[in-house]
């Protein structure tokens, strides 16, 4: 973790010191995943080759991100932000009463959102793969599979909207720009 310190006379006008929170892999995967999901959504039932390529990109990112969640840098690891149920409920209670404390990494609600988003994306990708290649050793695909695929994609889109709402609310609550932090990787300590 590096600290950018203003030096000497420049201190007064220099921006406040920040610390590196999100490593480059976390940031690249985050924005690539967002772009891939958007592309897959927009090309659904239209440009199938692009839709499938975007879907496979999503699947690969879910794999790499969860592996990085086991072995990655401090704030990339799921240990750092996936709460126990009690911790999640306590945070939501604090949020409702406006007393939620600031976290350097993801807050507990954000941690739950990450798992839900990745699970939604995995379910969407899995049902998409099943539509393309069939389910091993099972009945041929029916309309049901297509509906599950669409429902999973829609549910994931709803989660994305909740995620964006959470980012805005958390940014306002703690007076920091979380979107910029996910671009630069840096936050105030």
């Amino acid at each position: 973790m590096t600290v950018a310190r203003p030096v000497g006379a420049a201190a007064a006008s220099a921006p406040p010191p920040t610390i590196r929170v999100w490593d480059p892999l976390v940031r690249v995967l985050h924005w690539t995943l967002a772009a891939s999901f958007a592309i897959a959504w927009l090309t659904a039932e239209e440009v199938m080759s692009v839709h499938e390529a975007a879907g496979f990109t999503v699947l690969a990112i879910v794999a790499v991100r969860s592996l990085w969640g086991l072995i990655g840098t401090r704030h990339a690891r799921f240990d750092d932000f996936v709460p126990a149920p009690a911790g999640f409920l306590a945070y939501v209670r604090d949020l409702a009463t406006g007393r939620a404390r600031r976290f350097i990494g993801h807050n507990p609600a954000g941690g739950v959102m990450i798992v839900l988003l990745l699970a939604g994306l995995l379910l969407t990708a899995a049902t998409g793969v099943a539509m393309a290649y069939g389910i091993p050793g099972a009945v041929p695909r029916g309309e049901a599979l297509e509906e599950v695929h669409e429902a999973a994609a829609t549910a994931t889109l709803v989660l994305v909207c909740l995620h964006l709402t959470g980012v805005v609310l958390s940014s306002l609550l703690h007076r920091e720009n979380l979107v910029r932090a996910m671009i630069t990787g840096r936050k105030r300590p």
């Binding site: 199938m48 499938e52 496979f56 699947l59 690969a60 879910v62 794999a63 991100r65 969860s66 592996l67 969640g69 086991l70 690891r77 799921f78 240990d79 750092d80 932000f81 996936v82 709460p83 126990a84 941690g111 798992v115 990745l118 699970a119 995995l122 990708a125 899995a126 793969v129 539509m131 393309a132 290649y133 069939g134 091993p136 009945v139 041929p140 695909r141 029916g142 049901a144």
Partner: protein
Amino acid sequence: MIYGKLSAAALLAGAVAVGGYAIAMETASGQAPATSPASGEALQPGGAILTVPEIIDQVVAQGYSDVAEVEREGGGRYEVKARNPEGRWVELYVDARTGEILRSEREDY
């Protein structure tokens, strides 16, 4: 925290399983043996995607009848609903380039 490790491991396992399956299926259909169907028509391994009428011809030539549905799937395959030589409704996965029947399953939904 155990919840972090569990969720990361579950997501990783799921993604690897689904991705591995897709890669296996893609590899298998790419290595379709170049045996000629009953029609004796020349096959086009790795060639152009066959048209729907060509797919119907290929399937009928292999003893299937009453072709009711032909749908282009991802992964270089068609999905065809027809009666098999025994008269039973089946759903076929047909290689879109060679016309080879990759899988035949009872239509039971």
